[in-house]
Symmetry: C2
Subunit: 255 residues, 2 copies
Amino acid sequence: VKEIFSTSNPKIKQWRQLLSLSGRRRHNLFLAEGEHLTIEAIKAKQAKAVIIGKEQLERFFDWQNLDIPVYVVSRQVLNVLTDSKTPQGVLVVCPLPEIPDLHQAGPRLMALNRLQDPGNVGAILRTLDAAAFDGLIIDQGCADPFSPKALRASMGAVFRVPIYVCVSLKEALTVLSGYTIVAGDLCGEPYFDHPDFGLKVCLLVGNEGAGLDEDVLKMAHHRLKLPIPGGAESLNASVAAGLMVYDVICDFSSY
Amino acid sequence: VKEIFSTSNPKIKQWRQLLSLSGRRRHNLFLAEGEHLTIEAIKAKQAKAVIIGKEQLERFFDWQNLDIPVYVVSRQVLNVLTDSKTPQGVLVVCPLPEIPDLHQAGPRLMALNRLQDPGNVGAILRTLDAAAFDGLIIDQGCADPFSPKALRASMGAVFRVPIYVCVSLKEALTVLSGYTIVAGDLCGEPYFDHPDFGLKVCLLVGNEGAGLDEDVLKMAHHRLKLPIPGGAESLNASVAAGLMVYDVICDFSSY
């Protein structure tokens, strides 16, 4: 256990940079805040260091038996390591996972096209984790799943759900062999009338405002619209993704 | 059209207070930001005044033909009327709706118990709007649906979905006569095995961390758990609510 009470300590300066995408990429690390994420990181053997506020030392888990470095820091240091108004008092430093090979992906995938809200990206990862899906494909227009806001929404799913970052979603989809590609599309056919998707499926969810890009939409075997009998024009992206994912695992349409 | 370029103008001082719950209650008004919400408010005849940034005057809809006051303001004034880092340049002032009589409510309702995240409350309103549900019951532990963040997430649903604010959710539920009360509960029975709920249903969703209070849970005819075959402990509240709502309108369990 080491103590750091200065915000100009080199380690603190490095960790602080992990609040930005460029900093995370430069150091190949991310910073997750809160007891839940810290425990998940330790369980997943992804924790490289734990940072605990001096005042929170006793509140938290048995950090004394950890075989990774533990840093005790002042409240001022905690404040610079978070984008939140109410720092939670414990953080964990983790390596950014390597991008796995999409050719080896499991049978149930979701792909996001320019989904910009980090809360949506995080909540969708949480849903995929809950539903035991095999991975999430994201393109470069998506919010970073390792940003503080996305991490908070994902509730530790980043430690369990493989994330396939791609340059072009269209090209990534060409790699998927034997998958039924299903687009959530406000101009599509009634969603729950679809035929069986088979064992391998990739669900597509598009940008919050504009939906899926035309070249991505063209890759889909099915373009389906979730029912909206009421006044709203569309559903929240996480809610729509949740309905699509649970339709796959619960067979809402199979009768 | 009037011009206001000073943040100490009395109208600006009043509107600024609408960013807080106490200010909204004091003035019985709320402030919604963005072109989409402004248009929705005008369509719903709920707009009392429109506020437009001087630089955005030409970008927006035909404000010249509005029969309500339009105020043109400086960028500085826009900045104090928003909690967002990127003000959208147009806002609308609306009256807080009167709380309708729960005895007169329609057949399909959702009730929230201490749901604290304004983004969740807003996204759930949007789902209820999409699904043509008849109203949302919220207790005093819930995030205010008229806060800037909830309004952004609701996408105008506040103008269409009746909101029943209650002191005690348990007491509110006793008012509902002939409704099947269904609790989303992590300790419940498998969700999609439930029998038909009948025509009148009220779905209960609890606090993000703690779930439903025991006294509320006791009011439920069914305690049901959404399937979670994977690693996550629970679903995001908006996603869970979305599955429960769409199960009612699409009969996922009726076969």
